[in-house]
């Protein structure tokens, strides 16, 4: 199979990735890491059981363009309370995504999406998300934020 990395643009595109709270589901981020890496991003994978502060520290240190939070075990809502405040207080203005199994039990995803958008995430992904989908979305989102080059807007 041929791989077609989507060119993420010229500026450094560092992505911080991790599983929040005390969640230890690592397989998803392992796959995500590989996909973002193959697409040309610089990926800082913090692994599982990452605290809000660790996300903030890493984002600051690496001047991350995006922070990608994963949660599978059903406690995402509690774990993400105040997440964006933590980022803001460290002056981080990165694009934030969250994805995985975000609710306990058999929930309706639209409700879940609304909950996490209200918490401040730019995009919310369910666990059926294809890695390509996430890579494409981030590529688009980051391009639109790049003022120096003129680009045609890609409709989302």
């Amino acid at each position: 199979m041929s791989r077609c990395p989507i060119d993420p643009g010229t500026m450094s595109q560092t992505v911080v990735l991790g599983v929040i709270g005390s969640d230890a589901h690592v397989v998803g981020i392992t796959i995500l890491e590989q996909a973002f890496d193959a697409a040309g991003f610089d990926v800082i994978n913090l692994g599982v059981q990452t605290s809000q502060e660790e996300f903030a520290e890493a984002a600051l240190e690496h001047d991350a363009a995006a922070v990608l939070v994963s949660s599978l075990y059903g406690h995402a809502e509690q774990d993400c309370q105040g997440f964006h405040e933590t980022l803001e207080s460290a002056d981080i203005d990165a694009t934030t995504y969250i994805g995985g199994n975000l609710a306990v039990g058999q929930d309706d995803f639209e409700e879940t999406r609304a909950t996490f958008e209200a918490l401040g995430f730019d995009r919310v992904f369910d666990s059926e998300t294809d890695t390509e989908e996430a890579v494409a979305a981030l590529t688009r989102d980051l391009r639109q934020q790049t003022p120096e080059t003129e680009r045609a807007t890609i409709s989302s």
Partner: protein, 477 residues
């Protein structure tokens, strides 16, 4: 230096006192009174006896909700409608982190709102009395299932609360479940858990212990899982446990799964002391499920089919809603009944598949390599050997999130769908065995006309949820 030795009576008492003060409900634990309580339980609630005397695979689901009355209702339903033989009580994630305060908040919120704000039953918070209410209410044996690195208080309370089976172990509840706990630390803590189980056992209350075989649930090569089962079984036996159920998670290739269960049973009996009664448990596919209940039922049935051939003592069933989240009780029962139907229709059939002995032989040889390296690393001591072998990477688990494991070994399926090792890293394995894996994997690479790479591993990780066993390139082969 921690070694594979029995905790002394004094030490046991000291730790017991210490951990019981970690949360208010610890006070209520009284060993002598607990023995009386266990003795009062009818035979059908005695986990070890029920499991060991069964003449066909017993079925057990996973299930845990925060509130006691809901848990009673849930287990009654799974027993009545799902016809589960053995019942579980799955513990919430805060308790697993020993965050009893947060668990308490979650429990109170659950009581106030009626919503399941925890992903399991906070047994420590419910305390001895709460546990016994559950044991009294349910007409079948119940096991504690969790994923707790430091499960000492949980064990003290649930054993006193009448539970007679306890899942986990120092490796199997460390490596797949947590990032920062050292192995030395979890081994020490689990020696205590096993020691209390042993103490009950000595008084005639045989607590069943079940190391968690599936590990990360994701393409774990059988020999790695089996070696870890043998280590945990040995550690438990040293502390006086006499009923040990070794676990294994389905990889989806019938020949390899049957061979692995056979090897698990055989090596379990060989490596564990004679006085231990060894049983086996087969977990239906523990990796990513299809996002479709109908297809999930197919995955579950393939597990049932495998169980009917291998005939483990117990099967842990999945529900068709596995992909989505914690299943409804109806879906959980459905998983049980689908499994039951397949097993009951197939179990009386003589199904002898070619190649099982050969695969079993390979698994046994691999497992012996790993056990040998453990003994060598520890100079005969299995505790030290395990710690050192993980440290050197001679022992490793694929997709391990833990800092205690290299997590450098990478599995991939061969052309027949059997899980082989693609990246050995420092795993201790004889060269001729490595050659066998290599040949099998290059056969697959040939079929697919592509190189072996992480891409193949990633495709295999997604394959079952995408509807296949092997992650072939799309539109290819």
């Amino acid at each position: 230096m921690i070694r594979d030795e029995r905790i002394s009576a004094d030490e046991l008492r000291r730790i017991d006192d210490e951990i019981r003060s970690n949360w208010s409900t610890g006070d209520a634990v009284d060993f002598e009174e607990a023995i009386d309580y266990h003795e009062s339980l009818p035979p059908k609630k005695r986990f070890a006896d029920v499991l060991e005397s069964a003449d066909k695979p017993l079925l057990q689901p996973r299930a845990g909700v925060p509130r006691l009355d809901d848990q009673v209702e849930l287990l009654e339903y799974l027993h009545g409608e799902g016809k589960a033989d053995l019942l579980p009580t799955t513990i919430d994630s805060y308790t697993r982190d020993n965050e009893y305060e947060k668990a308490q908040e979650g429990l109170e919120k659950a009581r106030d709102t009626g919503e399941d704000t925890l992903n399991g039953f906070p047994a420590v918070n419910h305390g001895v009395e709460g546990c016994r209410e559950l044991i009294d209410a349910i007409d079948a044996p119940i096991e504690v299932r969790h994923g707790t690195p430091d499960a000492r208080l949980l064990a003290a309370i649930t054993f006193a609360g009448g539970f007679q089976s306890f899942e986990g172990g120092p490796i199997s509840y460390n490596i797949p479940y947590t990032k920062r706990h050292g192995l030395e630390e979890t081994i020490e803590k689990w020696q205590f858990v096993d020691r209390i189980a042993g103490a009950y056992t000595e008084r005639g209350v045989r607590i069943n212990r079940e190391p968690f075989g599936p590990l990360t649930g994701t393409l774990v090569p059988p020999s790695i899982a089996i070696a870890i089962m043998l280590v945990e079984g040995k550690l438990a036996a040293t502390q006086g446990v006499r009923s040990i159920t070794l676990g294994y998670g389905q990889v989806g290739n019938i020949v390899q799964d049957v061979a692995a269960l056979n090897a698990l049973k055989k090596l379990g009996n060989e490596y564990l002391p004679d006085e231990v009664v060894v049983t086996t448990v087969f977990h239906e596919w523990m990796g990513g499920f299809p996002p479709d209940e109908a297809r999930a039922n197919g995955v579950i049935s393939l597990g049932g089919m495998t169980a009917s051939i291998a005939q483990p003592d117990k099967v842990i069933t999945k529900s068709p809603q596995e992909f989505q989240g914690v299943p409804t009780k109806e879906a959980n029962s459905a998983g049980l009944r689908t499994t039951r139907q397949v097993i009951d229709m197939a179990i009386e059939q003589q199904i002898d598949i070619d190649g099982i002995e050969e695969e079993q032989d390979l698994i046994e040889r691999e497992t012996r390599c790993l056990m040998d390296t453990i003994f060598e690393h520890g100079d005969g001591d299995v505790v030290q050997g395990t710690i050192q072998a993980f440290d050197s990477g001679a022992l490793d688990v694929p997709f391990a999130p833990s800092d205690s494991a290299a997590g450098a070994v990478l599995p991939a399926r061969d052309d027949d769908g059997r899980v082989r090792i693609f990246e050995w890293a420092d795993l201790a394995m004889d060269d001729d065995i490595k050659e066998i894996h290599k040949a099998r994997l290059s056969q697959r690479a040939d079929t697919e006309g592509r190189d072996q790479s992480f891409r193949m591993v990633a495709d295999d990780v997604d394959a079952i949820s995408d509807g296949k066993l092997i992650g072939r390139p799309q539109g290819g082969a």
